[in-house]
Symmetry: C2
Subunit: 616 residues, 2 copies
């Protein structure tokens, strides 16, 4: 007893595959186009905040010996990383996400492969540890224990932010004291934003440390053309889906309970959407749907009650309903109430006086809520000023409201079925500490390798990226993108999801209600609701069939932005090739007219006014 054995031990020995670009002793780093902002209207604001790091080029990693892609990409420069000798630091900045340890392992392997004298410094205790300059040199022996293991306990984590002037100064002082050539920050949207600011600050102060971010968050909301998914999302969705399916099986066996399951995932509903696609519950209510339709708490309750009533008419008195933890904040009236409470908290009003200081309508809603929810609404905010969503028992609130409404309907004679029985669950902590899936192990390891190559090439303010992830590892594209290219500026004042108004940030991507994963769900929503098509994806498997399945989201989204950028460039090159000085005039004319029209269409589409911005 005490010794680690069994599957945990076996996983230590799991050999992750490497994308071909990272296998070579000589990895070639090739620069692509200079980047811009995702929304043209934000470009100026972002450029103003990041004058030194804005507009840097995309970079691609290619196997060192081949030189194929090079011509097509018209490289600005090419660096051979094995020249690098130095020290790189790594810090866990976000919440623990399965696979995090493999980022460190990949980083270590690449760093040592290129020069055994290179040193990897682990920052102990997250950002607080960084400010306090607590560190440890990571060795192969120590790392061996953490390979393919869950959690962040190799180094730990704390507050997860580098925001204030003092914090940035402390971080710089630490990097200088530790003589770091590069520092790798592992985290989600907040961490990426911090990394961009840190990179800009380091560039301005001529600190030699290069800042690289790696996307790891179970919420899966750090998502943009360059980042297809985050380390940990795959595992967490699989573990949650198994549990939801088990509950569904239970519901179907006993036929007497409605299970209300809240899922961790913060403001965005990616986890809930993926889990719904995996496990086919009767119902899932995404925060994005509620916000877009501006539903009230009563609307949401009514929607659930109507579903229960419809099922009762078919003699069904059981069911499974998924609720993302961000749902509560997505209900506009609740969001407004939470904002008022937050405003009062900021004025240091004591918690017991807050209810009396609310506006009349906020007060009316507050008084309507059950005591346990009132208490949870009054909790202090997270360190990043967001609501402590994990502590608000939305599932209990809705279960209680549904029970009240079903009792009312029964008394009024409009519902004639059996008594409603609800059981509540919250799945979060039990998934995010899981042993990582094969996919997360492999993805994280590749990102770690890439982070080393980016830092060693002297790139600053970049995110390590792997794209074309839906395909097999040998087709993955490795590279880096400037974090500023993932930033946007939010301008609206009201509505869920607002943060840092007017300041550029990497924002949490919400579920795209026009995207394929959501389309797949909505096409099947009524069948799922009525026909109990429960599916059990089974427990996370490491061996045998099913061990290498990817998330449905990743499979149906069909994302390959980087691949398409490269395809476009080859078209442009081809036009250039054809229209060389000396070509017939009619061909030149045709090209001119075609390109003028293409250019005009694209200009209009890229103009600030064209894109219809919505809160999601």
């Amino acid at each position: 007893m005490g010794a680690v054995d069994g599957i945990q031990g076996i996983r230590r020995g799991y050999k992750v595959s490497l994308p071909p670009a990272l296998e070579a002793p000589n990895v070639q780093l090739v620069c692509g186009d200079a980047t811009t902002a995702m929304d043209a209207s934000d470009a100026l604001a972002i450029q103003r905040s990041f004058s030194l790091t804005y507009g840097q080029p995309l970079v691609h990693l290619l196997p060192g010996k081949k030189s194929t892609g090079e011509k097509k990409l018209s490289p600005l420069r090419s660096v051979l990383c094995d020249a690098f000798a130095g020290r790189v630091g790594v810090v866990f900045c976000g919440r623990q996400s399965p696979g995090g340890h493999n980022i460190v392992a990949g980083l270590f392997d690449a760093l040592k492969a290129h020069n055994p004298d290179n040193v990897l410094i682990g920052i102990v205790g997250g950002t607080d540890g960084l400010f306090a300059q607590k560190s440890v040199e990571i060795t192969a022996d120590v790392l061996a224990v953490y390979r393919n293991q869950g959690g962040y306990d190799l180094l730990g984590r704390t507050k997860d932010q580098i925001k204030s002037v003092q914090q940035v100064d402390d971080a710089r002082a630490a990097c200088e004291a530790m003589k770091l050539d590069g520092i790798v920050l592992i985290g989600g949207c907040g961490t990426s934003t911090d990394a961009a600011h840190l990179a800009e600050n380091f560039a301005a102060t001529e600190c030699r440390t290069k800042v690289i971010a790696v996307p790891a968050t179970i919420d899966g909301d750090l998502k943009n053309p360059f980042v297809e998914t985050d380390v940990g999302f795959d595992t967490v969705c699989k573990v949650n889906s198994q549990l939801i399916s088990n509950i569904s099986t239970d519901a179907l066996s006993a036929e007497k309970y409605y299970y209300f399951i809240r899922l961790m995932g913060r403001r965005a509903s990616h986890v809930s959407l993926e889990c719904a696609l995996q496990s086919h519950p009767n119902m899932v209510i995404l925060g994005e749907e509620v916000a877009t339709s501006k539903m009230t708490l009563f609307d949401v309750t009514k929607q659930i009650c109507d579903a229960i009533q419809a099922r009762a008419e078919h003699e069904k008195y059981h069911g499974v309903i998924l609720l993302p933890e961000g749902l509560i904040e997505s209900i506009p009236e609740v969001y407004a109430l939470l904002q008022e409470i937050h405003g009062l908290q900021k004025q240091d009003i004591e918690v017991e006086h807050i209810p009396t200081r609310l506006s009349p309508w906020a007060s009316a809603l507050f008084e309507f809520l059950p005591p346990f929810i009132k208490k949870q609404f009054l909790l202090d905010r997270e360190s990043d000023d967001s609501v402590q969503l994990s502590q608000i028992e939305t599932e209990k609130l809705l279960c209680q409201l549904v029970e009240t409404e079903m009792t009312r309907r029964t008394k009024a004679g409009s519902y004639k079925g059996k008594k409603f029985n609800g059981i509540c669950h919250f799945f979060g902590y039990q998934a995010r500490g899981s042993l990582p899936s094969n996919f997360d192990c492999t993805y994280a390891n590749a990102l770690g390798h890439i982070a080393f190559h980016l830092a060693s090439a002297g790139l600053n303010g970049y995110m390590a990226t792997v794209t074309n992830l839906k395909e097999s590892v040998d087709q993955w594209r490795c590279g880096g993108a400037p974090i500023t290219a993932m930033m946007s500026v939010k301008r609206w004042q009201r509505g869920p999801g607002v943060s840092q108004i007017g300041k550029p940030a990497v924002h949490s991507a919400r579920v795209d209600l026009k995207g394929k994963p959501y389309e797949l769900l909505s096409q099947n929503a009524s069948a799922l609701l009525m026909d109990d098509l429960y599916r059990n994806p089974g427990p996370l498997q490491f061996d045998g069939p099913g061990a290498d399945l990817k998330t449905i989201t990743l499979s149906v989204e069909d994302r390959d932005y980087i691949g398409r950028i490269q395809e476009l460039r080859s078209y442009l090159d081809k036009v250039k090739d054809i229209i060389k000085p000396g070509c017939p005039e009619e061909i030149l004319k045709a090209a001119l007219s075609s390109m003028a029209s293409v250019t005009e269409v694209l200009s209009v589409m890229s103009s600030p006014g064209y894109r219809n911005l919505t809160p999601f």
Copy 2:
């Protein structure tokens, strides 16, 4: 979408191994010794209640072609099951337990293999369905969908009991109407007791249906010399252990929360003990320990607070504490309060008046409890009159009491560490609906086969049994034991675990505080508490290394009662062989003197007064 695929589909095709005795087309059924009561002092009471079915012999299943074991076992009779032609019914009587569907599958396979005209009747909707004579013929096609799948949704379940005279009469009427030669009841202790009574009633009324029970309960508390473990226990412990381990990893990464995890498992703490052995949490408080030490609610709180304080002195502010759901009832003062409430409920006192009718000391405890627990204590009982343990949030109660006590200690200056932060979990429903483990699939399937052989041999009031389970399948011993041999009579009035005072029943076996699994835990308790030796057994695996691991309980208990009975018989036979008429007188004398002394020792040890009975 909608179609079942992936791991769920793959599991349908999983081929379970059969113990050698069940593989043959000709299975031989051999009778062993007549059985007695486990406790000699109960024998008379049991015999009085079961005059027709008490004292029946053990039976062993052996491969038909070999005849080895036969001589040693001196068979009373031997039956070739393939002569049987008829109809067998099957009903889910207990709560859903992973593997339940495989019992039906094994039953079906054996029944059809012996005669394709045999019919398996599934009772739809559990015991209520039996009373109402709702049934369906089970076909290979339908069954194919449910092989190796979790839940009981093939047939469903309801109230899970056959107790009253009316219920027994209805069950008999149903068996007669359906022309059943045998009926197989799948469930735990309550179901076994019901099966014994039903068998006795059927024998008395000359109903031709033979009653066979099969042990399936996630609680793992149907445990005696003949039953080493129950179908579902293996899976549920593995699923729970994974989740506990994930939480432990999380605790270790964030280093700021104490997780209070309540585990389903009803009155006995077998699930909690096994999960603790699997996952190594900091602390587990077994109901059996609390009841034996007669701890109060304050004692339990203090024990946890002292542990938190000891850890704080080593700068540790995180931890994982397991609590069996039966813990609350094991605290004598709480048990007494619950009994008083139950007494008042039976008098039809309205729920709002119950608190005012409590005895002074019970009232004092009740008033001390937080409102949510008060409400849960006043809930109606389960159909079997037991407390609705799954609805009592013991983890929240203890977390709250610990928080209060830690705050008091901080104010008093005796605790100087950081603020205590608790997070609560209840793991139950999300485990019991799981896809069954390889072990549970195999064990359940074997039991199903055996149930057919017992019924077809005309045995009545038997439990299907497989022993020597810790070894590989080819060494498993298959057979049947009269349920009356597993019964006992409880006589004490006070203390947890009382049921049917004075009536023979198959009682829930509690964790043996002198047994090896508990010894293993207690030897390591202080290291687990202080040193964070968290172990992650990983998610339930179906393939690859670790897929066929068994529970630690089963592995360390080293049970093989049936094997030892057989070994003893071979010694007795050997003595008989040696002392044949004509043997030298000195050898006869030596044998006489030795056997006289052995007989005397065993008589004294078996006398009613010898065994020191305790509530557990």
